[in-house]
Symmetry: C2
Subunit: 443 residues, 2 copies
């Protein structure tokens, strides 16, 4: 097995000389951590401004007036870091040189990318690692990463290197122009590098321990998820913010490389491992996590002899598509077709427009609208391995007096999605969590 770990450190880990000292300890603590990918310095405190955001302002100013007052703030951040870490080069000289290049290049992409560039350059110097510029590794085609070419290019460039720091978040097109990944894109850089160097694990270091089984604002002290599959992560993250950029998974799953979400500020926690596949025997929990989202609307269409109207469902969905309305679930039955839609898609007159179009074109008997529905996704690759789990799930909900508005199960064995009234949302999540997790752990 490969003896290479790729470790990506996010903005909070790279925020100051103090936090970077923790990064250095982590890297030095394991000689397999050979390829380090970094973000630009992030927030040091909640009101702080990320260097990347400062650089967007710098870009505005430079493009507007060929000068930038904000660049002073950027300089201060890097000077603090460089002095605190005692770097071997003159940070002021580098910062002045970079400002000249910004004026010369005059593109938002180049200017904004300098946060990661400097971040990586400094860390490489302090660690005694080689700094490799992402522009020589990550290849763009238009505005998108060319995955295949990137893999080929990075694999070749890094083949004979050991102990390297790479700037995240950007790459270059064939002409050498700097191109940016989307926000949070340093995660993707790390994944692309992991694939290119055949890493045994891709460590994604941020400021949280990993993934929790539920939202801690809803469930008190939820457990950390020790391991899960990519599919489970997707099923959980769809309904809430994810700590890892969703484009991250494709490159690593391609090579079967696990992601390990870790906390720079609590390195003793093993974090969460995310695999392409986890054998059932390796799991102690029945459910992996519970995710949910409020404020859905269920539109229930009834029409006698609906199946005699060919393409009824397809036509209704095409109305939604034209109105940019995304449909999450499609409960259906004899003479009825329904759509579960996040209510944010039905604001303004879109709801009325959609319903009127359905009424006018499809001539239904009735169109009923049910609002304030929450969807809850109970995720667990082992959920269906034991038939009694389904029973446990429903008894937990029923015994807590939750009214079920929808059940959608069958598209994969990994999760089951239920609909409840918004008012029952938190009770339902706690009921399921208590049934499956508290009892298992605390017994």
């Amino acid at each position: 097995m490969s003896k290479i770990k790729v470790a990506k450190f996010g903005g909070t880990s790279m925020a100051s000389s103090e936090t970077i000292k923790k990064v250095i300890d982590i890297v030095k603590n394991d000689e397999e951590r050979k390829f380090i990918v970094v973000s630009a310095p992030g927030k040091r405190f909640s009101d702080d401004i990320k260097v990347t955001d400062l650089l967007y302002k710098v870009a505005d100013e430079i493009l507007d007036s060929q000068t930038s007052a904000t660049y002073e703030l950027v300089k201060q951040r890097f000077i603090e870091i460089a002095f605190g870490l005692n770097v071997s080069f003159s940070i002021e000289t580098v910062l002045d040189q970079i400002f000249k290049e910004m004026l010369y290049e005059e593109t938002v992409e180049f200017i904004v990318s300098r946060g990661e560039y400097l971040s990586a350059m400094i860390l490489a110097d302090v660690l005694g690692f080689e700094f490799v510029d992402a522009k020589d590794l990550i290849r763009f085609k238009g505005s998108k990463v060319d995955y295949q070419l990137t893999n080929k290019t990075a694999r070749k460039a890094l083949k004979h290197k050991e102990y390297v720091v790479i700037s995240g978040f950007y790459g270059a097109n064939p002409r050498g122009d700097i191109k940016l990944l989307s926000r949070g894109g340093a995660d993707v850089t790390g994944a692309l590098i992991s694939r290119a160097v055949f890493a045994k694990v891709y460590e994604n270091w941020s400021d949280i321990d990993g993934f929790l089984m539920c939202d801690p604002r809803i469930v008190e002290n939820p457990h950390l998820i020790d391991m899960m599959t990519y599919k489970e992560l997707r099923a959980l993250s769809f309904m809430g913010a994810s700590v890892i950029h969703s484009d991250t998974f494709y490159p690593v799953s391609k090579e079967g490389i696990p992601i390990n979400a870790r906390n720079t500020f609590n390195p003793s926690s093993p974090g969460t491992f995310i695999y392409d596949y986890v054998p059932a025997s390796k799991s102690k929990n029945v459910i992996t996590g519970i995710a949910g989202l409020n404020n859905f609307t269920l539109i229930i269409i009834e029409k006698h002899l609906m199946d005699e109207t060919p393409g009824f469902d397809r036509k209704v969905l095409s109305f939604c598509e034209k109105l940019d309305i995304q449909v999450e679930h499609f409960p259906s039955g004899t003479d009825t077709f329904s759509m579960m839609i996040e209510s944010k898609y039905l604001t303004g007159d879109k709801r009325e427009t959609l319903i009127n179009q359905i009424k006018k074109t499809m001539k239904p008997d009735t169109v009923e609208v049910l609002e304030n529905i929450s969807l809850i996704s109970i995720v667990g690759r082992n959920l269906m391995a034991n038939k009694y789990n389904m029973l446990k799930l429903f008894s937990a909900l029923v015994n807590t007096n939750i009214t079920l508005r929808m059940i959608d199960y069958g598209s994969n064995g990994t999760n089951i999605v239920i609909g409840v009234d918004d008012i029952d949302y938190e009770y339902a999540i706690n009921a399921v969590y208590n049934e499956f997790v508290r009892e298992d752990h605390e017994r």
Copy 2:
């Protein structure tokens, strides 16, 4: 309340002089049975040929050679009936006259419609009721019934009449040409007449007691359904043959007229009442019935970041539509969209064509096909009134060791559809029936 009952008697009830004597008893037994609608004589025994089928052959022969040997068989049927009932006119003269008209009119519709015509004429004579030809009541526009014009025409024509027998199954267009309803269409005639005369009930007399809660080939001696709603009937009949033509419901539900399915050969059974709405207090059963159908195929499509492909679902459904594939359910989740399709739609190369088109156009990560799935619809307008019913349902299934492949609930409160392996189909239906019905009744 109206004091008018419309009674429609099907082919088995009108099959012979013996069976028609039962019809006469039933009609005479209730003076509110004022408008009688009849089918042509049906089968007297299982190998018998229905008069309507004989008449299709007669039509073939007449159109082919201006003569018909088969008409002799038709004559024999009606002669037996007329003599057995001692009608007041010469049946031979009428039959000869009708044959001349057949040769003159020379249309399949006219020829085939004479079964109901003669049936109604004979019954009217024996009952001492007025015979009204359906051609003066049921109005067609093209090949479809014009519901509004029919209602107006029939209402006016029948306004001052009492005690009438009407021929089912046909009507006429504005030029007076005879037009046929689809097979089983005498049910629809009865419904149209019920609406026109403001009937208090539409009695539909056949050779079975009404609707059973489940298929008696699967569950031993299932109970008769005493009452249900139109919606429940639709949800039950979708998955199996219905004893009542599906176009029947629209005209009567329009006027809030209940249908009463009765048995000519067991008139003491109250049969099944079908209402537009049944108040919860009127029901003693939790479930109304269980219907099911074997041999579905589940096509599971997975694509990472599926929601970034706008109209993914709509596009996949349009492929189905072009291939005339009807999709029954749409289980879905994050990055996955599935379709439950009756396998008969996927025969020949249609399955491969569909999957190839999905693969080529939608570029999914995987397309998985699960075959031999049965759908079971548990129908009951009160099913969700008590939350514990859902729990009872799942515990019945789980305790019988049934693996659930799909759950679709939410489009209406009337039913829940589950998917199981074909091999578990009969066990599952029996488990649910035993849980909800045997225990309730036999306690």
